[in-house]
Symmetry: C2
Subunit: 228 residues, 2 copies
């Protein structure tokens, strides 16, 4: 059995976890030999950055060895979690038991803070991509970036593309297309794709810095490292 | 305050609810005057079609009057819920208090079963789209379909497109593009868009019929109406 394990922690962005979880859950229905679990510190409701609370299916202590470990991201709570040594230890231990380690959005900052992205090409949410370099990774602005056994996606909604890519690698392109069909993933963004030039993401750098300073106010050494 | 209310019920497909919830949650952070809630029968963990359980933020009895009510879909549990008179009553009552009623995926079958789509153009997951006609609606194969105050999306992942469209209508295209930017919704399906001809969805009609018969085995009158 290949288990795809998704990490849950307080305050995350639920779409970061649910996009790839839905893809792999569909895979597990179509193809024997796959299952999905959601792993947290305790099996109890945890807040997200929406009004929805999520409840994991397993704890870190009771999880089976995963084939793949996927870490979702979020906003301020995820930035603060870069200083959560207990969570980072959980990630290091679980990653050591996994054959593939992945992330969606700022989940890559947690992998990076855990020391798991040193020397690796990786991506994150565009607003925080450059922080990866502070942890010894090479930021790459692609929808998903695979470097050996580490695969990291761009922000939030990129998790569905990363997951479909992985399904294609694991179970073949035909199966991946079937998962895509059942999830009716035939995107029609009403205003087209992102026009990066018009969006001018650089204008949000001060906002990103401010969020980072607030989130890590109690962790001056880490903040210094990330803003130097 | 314009409240966007998402309906939660047991066994739903979490991506159906989380895609548009994340869009409107981002709107509520960017623009004053909007908030999001998740409404269920009780504020307690409910199963989904993944290992994740979700907890709503409000009950039907305590919810404020919503501006918009959005009903997510799912597989067998949603088909069975077409016979859940208590849930259908909740939907009728909440819809009567809303200015806009929407659905994602087979959520439209619940709106239809509640009598809310009679005479309306509507969509659903491709596998069950034709069932809408049995409830007096006109099935339309578009990513989202608006007919007066009723807006229904295609399957699962179509909720993000519907939600961005609504944000554009409510708060303007620039704001919708900003929400899209922050969710980094710049889709790159690794195998391209769905090739509907190659996918040949008609081949799954027997599978859809079988699921429907199983889900409504205890409700022969409704089953007869839907399969006649």
């Amino acid at each position: 059995m290949k288990t795809i394990a998704f990490v849950q922690y307080p305050g995350l962005t639920p779409l970061d976890i649910v996009d790839p979880l839905q893809v792999f859950s569909e895979l597990s229905r179509l193809v024997p030999g796959y299952d999905t679990i959601v792993v947290g510190e305790r099996i109890e409701p945890m807040a997200t950055d929406t009004p929805l609370c999520l409840v994991p299916s397993h704890t870190f202590d009771t999880m089976p060895d995963p084939y793949a470990l996927i870490v979702p991201g979020g906003t301020a709570p995820t930035l603060a979690a870069m200083a959560d040594e207990k969570l980072l230890d959980r990630l290091r231990t679980a990653a050591a038991r996994s054959q593939l380690v992945g992330s969606v959005c700022t989940g890559s900052l947690l992998l990076a803070a855990a020391g798991l992205l040193e020397g690796r090409r990786a991506n994150s949410h565009w607003m925080y991509r450059n922080l990866l370099a502070k942890f010894g990774a090479t930021p790459v602005a692609e929808r998903w970036v695979q470097d050996d056994y580490v695969i990291t996606a761009a922000g939030v909604s990129a998790g569905i593309d990363l997951a479909l890519h992985l399904v294609g690698e694991l179970a073949g392109h035909d199966t991946a297309r079937k998962v895509q069909l059942f999830l009716e993933y035939d995107p029609k963004p009403p205003f087209g794709p992102i026009d990066w030039e018009a969006a001018n993401p650089g204008q949000y750098a001060p906002q990103g810095q401010k969020r980072l300073r607030q989130a890590l106010a109690d962790h001056p050494a880490l903040l210094e490292r990330l803003t130097a």
